[in-house]
């Protein structure tokens, strides 16, 4: 962490009087915030601390008097909106508590708001937690004088499959439209019409009543058409001060008094967003954003918010399963199942012709689980064959991570990203792969230069006003090397606080991480690695990689091995282990005796994973649900989903994001199951409780000098862009897609972007493709998608989403991004 050069200037303050109480606040503070400082609550709807002032609802009217030029304190002629007026030295503010005029004004505004607001609180989802309901009671008239017919709209209006709008209930505070424009950048909804008919909505020609005239210009469009297709749309439901915006998933499900709220951490991405889990009788009904100003501020992605149904689908397993004589899985007791698992693992690891066992924990693990997997593989199974990276990965990446990321503590933070004058994204899509990282970057829109090394300018990058450095996968190394001299990116990155963000996909581009390190050295910019899954960083810290031990220690460093062996009280295997790709390939060739598989979805893995599971004599699966791995598993041990266990996610910053059990059940976390299993094998891992694991990790600390792997020095691969039939495949996961943790939530799935294949105009012409459906084929298989010819895209590249509907790259094409594929117009 580098100290900022400028000293924090003394904050200029202003003193004023609110309700007779003297208060001193920084200059530029709004009256409503100054009042909060001294505990005076002014009713409000449109005001939100994270949004710009609007003064739309007029509920916060207060009496204000301010000194004139001569210094005489003179009252404003009319009450003023306290959410738009900043404080002034010597100002005297009287709220509804001390001023009759303010109180009368507020009651009047409330009466006007309630004129068209239906009294359908009993059927409204907001009932019981509704600011309008509460403030109508505290600051409203007891009797309504309105006797006419209320305005009615057809309801609900579906803005997307997830977000529903009841226009009758809307008080036009514009929190949702301001959020969409200012924070998310998805201006799909806006105010339409005027006067009494003013309403929120998506672009709707019927409402706008063009009366035969066509709208001028073209509305910003994306592949999803007109829907409110934002990855952050759920936040509008949470900030809506009335029940106008509701989510289809929670609609009519429960009441706030039914719910038990538990703070937790989202398991969906590496940001570690703070969430609130609301559950009733052991069943999660909704998740909300929790405020955490250092990480996710007030916002979370729709995936964090809505994708929780997977934990309790019908295929959830709560009892161990053991494959019987008949070849079927049968429920078994824990002692039986543990004995069977231990016997299978023992057979694979002991004896003369033992082929050994390998561990694939998956990258959705907590720190405790990752540590237990790491210790289990090394001590109980006697192997370094463990790799949590069941994605595109390389030895270069492992060396990079071991040398610069693992055990380095808190590095670049969200705040650093926000403050950075320039950001270079390489192999990383902030919106699709980063979630709330995108919101932080977008917060600095206009103050920050963003460069992105990508095949095309994605919608997320476009919203960041990013400059595209068009690059085909595999060419990232070269592109990073080219950021030098007087190029705009190079100049920008030389500014104090600039950040280079590298994503996990750079592992697929030989030499790219080497070049990223060189670029960071050359420009002085800070370098940060942001992976996609929640457990990537934890796996790294805990040494759930073949060449790494906890704390970034290399398995090839004798002193590091000795330190860990001493701490663990055992002997560690010698020599480096195989990585995930090698494990899968060897297992498919029948050269692995046993596989221990954690949260890995076979359809996410490139390579012959199904074959590997089939040909391995003994497969042990630790899973929440009876998934695809269970079909091949000999023993399945049920583990707890995140809501039913305590643990710690480590986010990409290196920040520990601990969470407690939200729903207490008898389900056990992976670390505890592995502890029991190791005992059955005759090894005491001492990972039975979170506290035990914590104590061990703290005692181990991070690597000493010289114990880390060498910084990678890999030659950048030569990419030959062959024009013609073969194109380079580019791909990444879209935020809302068909990932295993998004199953069972059709409303969320409906907000995902339509899967399309993208190619550059010149490439399209060369391949004779105009529009319609194209077939992207590899030696393994093919996928058919509608094609979008994308301007500014790198030539010789075809992009498809990694796991969107109809586009499961790992399963259908069987190749990783960077491979050559053929693209033909029409359906094969």
């Amino acid at each position: 962490m580098t100290a900022t050069p400028e000293k924090a200037a003394a904050v200029e303050t202003v003193s004023l009087t609110i309700d007779g109480t003297e208060v001193t606040v920084p200059k530029g503070t709004l009256i409503i915030r100054a009042a909060e400082e001294v505990g005076i609550d002014i009713p409000r709807f449109c005001d939100h601390p994270a949004l710009k002032p609007a003064g739309a609802c007029r509920q916060c009217l207060v009496d204000v008097a301010a000194p004139d030029r001569e210094g005489n304190v003179r009252p404003f002629p009319k009450p003023q909106a306290s959410c738009t007026m900043t404080v002034m030295e010597g100002m005297v503010v009287n709220t509804q508590h001390t001023s009759e005029a303010a109180d009368k004004a507020q009651k009047g505004v409330m009466e006007l708001l309630l004129i068209n607001h239906p009294l359908d609180c009993p059927i409204c989802d907001k009932g019981g937690e509704c600011p309008l309901q509460n403030q109508a009671m505290s600051n409203g008239r007891t009797e309504s004088r309105f006797i006419d017919v209320k305005r009615v709209f057809e309801k609900p209006l579906a803005l997307s499959s997830e977000i529903l709008l009841d226009r009758e209930r809307c008080v036009l505070c514009q929190r949702c439209t301001r959020f969409s424009k200012e924070i998310a950048g998805d201006a799909f909804i806006d105010l339409q019409n005027r006067g009494a008919m003013q309403q929120i909505g998506t672009f709707n020609e019927d409402v706008l009543n063009f009366d035969g005239y066509e709208p001028i210009g073209v509305a910003a469009e994306d592949e999803s058409g007109k829907a409110f297709s934002s990855y952050y749309s759920g936040n509008t439901v949470q900030i809506c001060p009335v029940g106008a915006l509701t989510s289809a998933a929670y609609r009519f499900r429960s009441r706030p008094f039914d719910l038990v709220s538990s703070p937790s951490i989202s398991e969906h991405d590496s940001s570690g967003s703070a969430i609130r889990v609301d559950h009733r009788r052991g069943k999660i009904l909704r998740r909300l954003a929790d405020q955490d100003m250092v990480v996710n501020e007030d916002w979370i992605t729709d995936k964090d918010r809505f994708a929780f149904a997977w934990q309790n689908l019908a295929d959830r397993i709560t009892r161990p399963l053991v494959r019987g004589e008949d070849g079927e899985l049968h429920e078994a007791s824990w002692p039986q199942a543990l004995a069977a698992a231990a016997a299978g693992l023992k057979a694979a690891t002991t004896g003369e012709d033992a082929q050994g066992a390998a561990v694939l924990p998956g990258a959705r693990v907590t720190l405790e689980d990752a540590y237990a997997y790491s210790k289990f593989a090394r001590l109980a199974l006697g192997t370094h064959d463990i790799d949590a990276r069941t994605r595109i990965a390389s030895d270069e990446e492992q060396a990079f991570l071991g040398a610069t990321v693992a055990g380095s503590g808190l590095g670049v933070t969200f705040a650093d990203l926000e403050k950075a004058p320039a950001v270079l994204l390489a192999g990383f899509e902030a919106e699709d792969e980063g979630g709330v990282v995108f919101l932080r970057l977008r917060k600095s829109l206009g103050r920050q230069q963003v460069f992105t090394i990508a095949p095309f300018l994605s919608r997320g990058a476009e919203k960041l006003d990013a400059t595209l450095i068009p690059t085909a996968p595999g060419g990232e190394g070269k592109a990073l090397a080219a950021v030098k001299g007087s190029t705009a990116a190079s100049e920008a990155l030389k500014a104090e606080g600039a950040v280079i963000v590298v994503g996990e996909r750079l592992a697929g581009s030989p030499g790219a991480l080497t070049q990223a390190l060189a670029l960071a050295k050359r420009t002085g910019a800070k370098l940060v690695w942001i992976p996609r899954r929640a457990g990537e960083r934890a796996a790294l810290e805990a040494g759930a990689l073949p060449g790494l031990l906890p704390g970034g220690r290399s398995v090839t460093s004798a002193s590091a091995v000795q330190t860990v062996a001493d701490a663990w009280g055992g002997t560690l295997p010698t020599g480096p282990g195989r990585d995930a790709a090698a494990i899968v390939a060897d297992a498919a060739a029948g050269k692995v005796g046993a596989l221990v598989v954690g949260g890995v979805t076979p359809s996410d893995v490139t390579g012959p994973f199904a074959e590997a599971l089939e040909r391995t004599p003994f497969v042990l699966s630790l899973e929440v649900r009876r998934g695809e791995v269970a079909e091949y598993a000999d023993v399945v041990l049920p583990v707890a989903p995140p809501s039913e266990k305590a643990g710690t996610f480590v986010n990409w910053e290196g920040r520990l994001r601990g969470f407690a059990t939200a729903i207490p059940t008898d389900a056990m976390g992976d670390h505890r199951v592995l502890d029991l299993l190791a005992r059955e094998l005759g090894t005491d891992l001492q990972t039975g409780s979170v506290a035990d694991v914590y104590a061990q990790i703290a005692a181990l600390g991070s690597a000493a000098k010289g114990e880390r792997p060498e910084v990678p020095k890999v030659e950048t691969a030569k990419v030959d862009a062959k024009p013609g039939a073969s194109l380079v495949l580019a791909s990444w996961h879209q935020l809302v897609d068909e990932g295993a943790l998004q199953e069972g939530e059709p409303y969320l799935a409906g907000t995902g972007r339509t899967a399309v294949a993208r190619i550059a105009p010149a490439t399209a012409v060369a391949a004779g493709i105009a529009d319609g459906v194209v077939t992207v084929a590899s030696a393994h298989g093919a996928i058919e998608l509608p094609v979008v010819v994308t301007d500014g895209m790198a030539d010789g590249v075809v992009w498809v989403p990694t796991k969107s509907p109809g586009s499961w790259v790992a399963q259908e094409l069987g190749v990783e991004p960077g491979a050559l594929v053929t693209v033909k117009g029409g359906v094969a």
């Binding site: 009519f252 429960s254 309790n312 959830r316 059940t665």
Partner: protein, 258 residues
């Protein structure tokens, strides 16, 4: 000598001689003393000549007062749609936490109540209910009222958790069983104001098309002569036998869908 004996002895010594018991009541005279052994029967004999208050329950059942707080009932509109909208205000008001409600959305294919929302799960736990009637006061649609039924005892705890089908009011003469569409041209407010007075032909047609076997259709009426009393006891039996997903006290939620 035990300690307590010692204490008594000390007390006796302190109080001097123990005095014989003397009553504070007025003492009867000589005649009174003669009749004293049979005077106690006076009350009994006097009551031989008074009207009897004993009720011959359960041989002879007596109707309680009209506003007696008995078992709850979920009412219906005149066309058979349910009044309950699943708002949970009854559950909110309940001081004994005896009511459990889960709401859901009405769909064009399954319209149970007017408007968008209906109560999908409705349970009252009569082991907890204290019959205070606060739920009745809270109900915004008068869906929940109380009947005069007071025979609320049973052999099992599960059996005393009444489900929605046990609580729903019996179908009236001209009612059509839900789900079916609302009266065409009406909105939920018309129902709340009491403007819907009978089943219309479109609704009957809809049910005829979707559930031709429905016993509440005019042509099917009389085919299954149903005694509401009998119907409820059937459900009670079912409750005892069938494994249950949702009760107020058990947590058999895991892996199951509610």
């Amino acid at each position: 000598m035990t300690e307590s004996d010692d204490v008594w002895k000390v007390n006796r010594e302190r109080d001097g001689q123990a005095k014989p018991f003397e009553s504070n009541l007025p003492q009867a005279g000589p005649v009174g003393k003669i009749f004293a052994p049979v005077a106690g029967f006076g009350v009994t004999m006097r009551n031989f000549f008074k009207p009897t208050v004993t009720e011959q329950y359960p041989e002879k059942k007596v109707a309680p007062m009209p506003r007696y707080h008995g078992r709850h009932q979920l009412n219906r509109y005149a066309d058979g749609l349910e009044k309950c909208i699943g708002c949970e205000l009854c559950a909110w008001a309940c001081p004994a936490d005896a009511i459990y409600v889960e709401a859901d959305s009405n769909t064009p294919d399954e319209q149970y109540s007017p408007g968008e929302r209906y109560g999908r799960v409705y349970q009252i736990n009569y082991l907890r209910c204290i019959f205070c009637g606060l739920c009745i006061e809270a109900c915004p649609t008068r869906a929940l009222t109380m009947t005069n039924e007071y025979e609320l005892a049973g052999p099992t705890r599960e059996g005393l958790i009444y489900e929605k089908q046990d609580l729903l009011a019996p179908m009236g003469e001209a009612m059509l069983a839900a789900p079916h569409p609302m009266v065409p041209g009406t909105v939920d407010d018309d129902y709340y104001r009491g403007d819907v007075l009978k089943v219309v032909e479109e609704q009957t047609e809809w049910v005829r098309e979707n559930r031709p076997e429905d016993p509440t259709l005019p042509e099917n009426r009389g085919m299954h002569e149903e005694n509401p009393e009998h119907r409820r006891s059937e459900h009670s039996d079912a409750r005892l036998n069938v494994a249950r997903h949702q009760t107020a006290n058990t947590a058999s939620w895991r892996g199951g869908s509610i």
